[in-house]
């Protein structure tokens, strides 16, 4: 699975990287972010594009699988 590591980056870099990855990926992608607002943004971004986002908390960070 393609992985986007956007941990610790400022807005809107996580979203831009997610968008870029989704454009080039065939299957699901995994996005790593560290802030809650970035998690919400990525989830919303996926939903707006008709994709399913599943989030799991990993310590103080988040892993979002978009498929």
């Amino acid at each position: 699975m393609k992985e986007v590591d956007a941990r610790g980056l400022s807005c809107p870099e996580p979203l831009m990287m997610t968008a870029e990855a989704l454009k080039n990926a065939d299957g699901p992608i995994k996005v790593l972010v560290s802030e809650a607002h970035q998690k919400t943004n990525v989830e919303k971004f996926a939903k707006d594009r008709g994709k399913k986002a599943t989030t799991t908390e990993k310590g103080s960070e988040f892993e979002i699988v978009i498929e």
Partner: protein
């Protein structure tokens, strides 16, 4: 509670923040400055003796409330994270640029919106510069601009700015150590307790809604996303209604009572610098205070840059003057940007370009 997951909730957050700003303006804050972040940080820098402009010195409880409101709500909702390490000194410089640009225009993006809602056409002119600045920042982002990653740090580090803010509040309330204007905008303020509560509420809602003036336009430019713009829309509508109701809505340039000037090119260039630097720093001055409250030492360094910039502006004569009535001669004296301010503004824009195109995501360490 998540305020950021629907446009309705976002607009509601904007309305609440608008109500806070309108209330504070009603109870004594300077006319349509209401809740200007740049003005209030500048006043606070004055109260701490960082500059000697006697008319603009006051430890604004709104700023203290904003940082502490964001701190408290982020702890309560488990969003507090103590992080640091994403190019702090570049952020410091961006903070200086944001303040210089703001004081050339006479207001941060929040005050620009408040001035727009009062019919001040100079603010609408400045909006052009702000949009262009944000768009230039967005272009840099597309080209791969990044200030690199922040990392988790000691829990206490993120609490330093909120603690300093509480310390300033205690000094302001219990000692005569801090300076306070007896005339001018710095002397005009709502009662301390109202300002503090207003700041706390504004801070909490801004944290939950991710309100950001630079981010709202950046998201529209970059991804045709209008979510954050809804928050600003809510705030604008409330302030518009307030101004109409209070008879303060006057369409025109050089409106009496509005601290502003009509030098179009410098209104545009000042806000261009602010928009550009704010996108590079990941948020407008308001957002920097909120991020600092929720534990980002990087945003806190940007806030320190704002303070430093305010000191530079008044110590070196960079800040613009507002159009005002001369009490003795009854003549209107037009506001202007001093030559020093113009030079500084151009330098700020050059600095933004250098920062924007020398910091690339690919070269940032993982």
């Amino acid at each position: 509670m998540n305020l950021a997951d629907s446009k309705k909730k976002l607009a509601l957050a904007g309305v609440v923040c608008g109500l806070v700003a309108a209330c504070l303006a009603y109870f004594g804050n300077p006319a349509n400055m209401a809740f200007c972040i740049a003005c209030f940080v500048r006043d606070m820098a004055g109260s701490l003796g960082m500059h000697q402009a006697e008319a603009v010195q006051y430890a604004r409880p709104e700023i203290i409330g904003l940082v502490c409101g964001a701190f408290i709500i982020s702890i309560a909702t488990k969003e507090y994270r103590s992080v640091a390490g994403s190019s702090p000194l570049i952020r410091f410089v961006l903070g200086i640029v944001i303040m210089i640009g703001s004081l050339v225009f006479l207001g941060c993006p929040l005050r620009m919106v408040i001035r727009m809602s009062a019919g001040d056409l100079n603010a609408w002119v400045a909006l052009i510069g702000f949009i262009l600045g944000v768009s230039t920042g967005a272009f840099a982002l597309k080209k791969g601009f990044s200030l690199g990653r922040s990392h988790e740090t000691n829990q206490a580090s993120g609490a330093v700015l909120p603690i300093i803010m509480v310390g300033i509040l205690i000094l302001a309330l219990c000692t005569s150590l801090l300076k306070a204007s007896t005339a001018g905008p710095g002397s005009m303020h709502a009662p301390i307790i109202l300002s503090l509560i207003g700041g706390l509420v504004f801070g909490a809602f801004a944290q939950k809604s991710r309100m950001c003036f630079a981010g709202s336009i950046r998201d529209v430019v970059l991804m045709k996303n209008f979510d954050l713009l809804t928050v600003i829309g809510g705030l604008f509508v409330v302030m518009l209604i307030f101004n109409l109701a209070m008879g303060k809505f006057v369409v025109g340039f050089d409106t009496p009572g509005v601290i502003a000037h009509s030098e179009f090119i410098w209104n545009i260039l000042g806000m261009y610098a602010v928009g550009f630097a704010a996108v590079l720093a990941g948020g407008c001055p308001l957002r920097q205070l909120i991020l600092a409250g929720q534990g980002s030492s990087d945003a806190a360094v940007t806030v320190l840059g704002l303070f430093f910039g305010a000191a530079l502006c008044h110590n070196l004569g960079l800040a613009a003057s507002g159009t005002a009535m001369n009490a003795e001669t009854q003549q209107i004296v037009p506001g202007a940007v001093p030559m020093n301010g113009k030079v500084a503004c151009v330098i700020c824009i050059v600095v933004c370009f250098v920062i924007a195109f020398t910091n690339k995501r690919e070269t940032a360490k993982k």
